[in-house]
Subunit: 418 residues, 2 copies
Amino acid sequence: MDIKDYVINIAKNSKLAAKKLSYADTNTKNKALIEMSKALLENKDYILSQNKIDIENAEKIGTSKALIDRLTLNDKRITDMAEALIKTSSLQDPIGEVIKMWKTPDELQIGQMRVPLGVIGIIYEARPNVTVDAAALCIKSGNSVILRGGKEAINSNTAIAKIIKNAVVTAGLPDGSIEFIDITDRETVNVMMRLNGLIDVLIPRGGAGLIKSVVENSSVPVIETGTGNCHVYVDKYADFDKAERIIINAKLQRPAVCNAMESLLVHKDVAHEFLPRISSKLKELKVQIRGCAATQKIVKDIVPATDEDFGKEFLDLILSVKVVDSLEEAIDHIFKYSTKHSEAIITENYTNAQRFLKEVDAAAVYVNASTRFTDGEQFGFGGEIGISTQKLHARGPMGLEQLTTTKYVIYGDGQIRK
Amino acid sequence: MDIKDYVINIAKNSKLAAKKLSYADTNTKNKALIEMSKALLENKDYILSQNKIDIENAEKIGTSKALIDRLTLNDKRITDMAEALIKTSSLQDPIGEVIKMWKTPDELQIGQMRVPLGVIGIIYEARPNVTVDAAALCIKSGNSVILRGGKEAINSNTAIAKIIKNAVVTAGLPDGSIEFIDITDRETVNVMMRLNGLIDVLIPRGGAGLIKSVVENSSVPVIETGTGNCHVYVDKYADFDKAERIIINAKLQRPAVCNAMESLLVHKDVAHEFLPRISSKLKELKVQIRGCAATQKIVKDIVPATDEDFGKEFLDLILSVKVVDSLEEAIDHIFKYSTKHSEAIITENYTNAQRFLKEVDAAAVYVNASTRFTDGEQFGFGGEIGISTQKLHARGPMGLEQLTTTKYVIYGDGQIRK
């Protein structure tokens, strides 16, 4: 069978499963998650043995240590995956919730009911835990899922997918609820991107290259999970202790993730006092500062910032710094360079806080808190399938609710339109 | 200037306007709509003179009467547009509404606030009223709009766009809030479809060919407004009076629109009684019936239905009819042929009604009411920019709310992530 037929067959199976899954009862879906959890633990040795093959292959071709770490499973990581499944089973089922209900002048009662999206395609790279996490969120929200992992983790993913696929069938969900594409040929992605009518949405998870390629080439709707060039703006009226604490946290608690801070803006009236303080702290913590001309005058021995630096997501111990003349300039700078992920103002001034919240356009806009909170878990969603940086459908952390759409259910009594 | 630069310049203007529009106050936006309304009435003669050119051109090339009717403006149609603007100005502004607000264990207060999408591109065909209606809904919801109308109405649209563009500037909104592409070269659409980052969403309005082409070729997110192959299922427990009234209305009140009924399903236990009754009524009303084998046995002198007929949106006085063995068969038939627009069951049986509502996947699912109600006005949204048949972002009639996204606004007090 050629690749196109192979992928289309998988998608057709998934579509059929989606129909039944869309009204599967909550208990059965929860049971499936619990069975998945059990099966992972029972087959731990098998998964680890397959994972070992992936790691050996990666080492052979000289893969970077960071990537091998992402790829690596161990006892604890499998136990974590199994526990996450139990946690997902305990989350509230979003399906069937009626968000609004109203009556029209014709006495029609119209309700807007949450229903699954249908078939969700996940295209991801090295991390095998995505296989489990993504499947769990899709199943719980009544969607079937087509998983297409990267070649680096193909043996681990194939093993895990087989195990969890069997588990959901044991629990009584349709075969096809979880589908895994075990061919790593790039052509499988090309086919997925054209399956309008069979796949309802594609979510690419991974590097910027993968995401860009899917966004540009897919005719199936895509949810873009993107990069974060996140700013912290220290206002004229900032509390310096809060500012320092938040900047250190936003920059350093986990520098390689999308909600980490990449750029610091400081109001000119406080720059002379605040910049020396924060920069000596950041230097201690091995953060390289790339500053604008004004910053260079205040802080010695820093790298001059280029225009490109202000547009960059470093994902590293590097921070661009700019002195601004006003709140307006800060907002304009963010408008120009932001990827609209997470932006923060540090201020004690009520009006400036409100203006920042109103005028800055991003998935999450903060007053006096770290940008690192932009996360499904931290927001209280119980998990996330990614952080959307697009505006359509879902914006910000995507939990179960963001994997749903709605339908209108209309209760009539013989009404006709006049 | 070449076409690409021309379109990009327009989009850049629109993007800049969108920034200010996103937090424009409600009074200014309402004033803009009222100014637009006034300006249309004041320039009625000019608009009609330009419209006359379009009509003459259309007649010269032998355009169909139906299309010329869509294209034609007259005194009443312009007054209607002007009145619709006043009505839109009186709708509630969706921007700034906080849909949800909660507190996390870290004592962060997180609100989900409605904000505009940004820049909306509308690609449409012959009807010049779209120029006004679409612009009004976009402006009221704080979005800037790029209008790209068809060549048939280019003179009418250019005139109208110039008038309403000036009106919003008079009211104090940024120049660029309404942009109109006055080149009808197809290349303008090709450029728009690749302007990720400048255009936030494209909404094609028009024939199936236009919509399909935009869905398949745009890397900018698209909201698909689509076709409706809508079914009415007459259950074993139907009230025949309600069934007849609803079928006549759904089929005939306006046969050429997407929420009109295209296919009738009848339970076998009532087919012998109900089919002769409804078919004689439909024949009186000049509706051609294309029936399945079972229908042909009960109703004489009808056209045999092909498989293709069941998948067709006739938009005409034609109805496909099928006798089904059960509710399940009706639901399966709808799953197979439906375009997921509007589907109805006629029944007095509580459990069957609930099952139909739960199991049928469509933008709008009805019990005992006409499918013709799927409409922004009828739903109480005050107007609509189209009816979405996709699942992402918006599904069903799209009013002001569907032209928004949300952002999370987070009120902190120095919190950092642990």
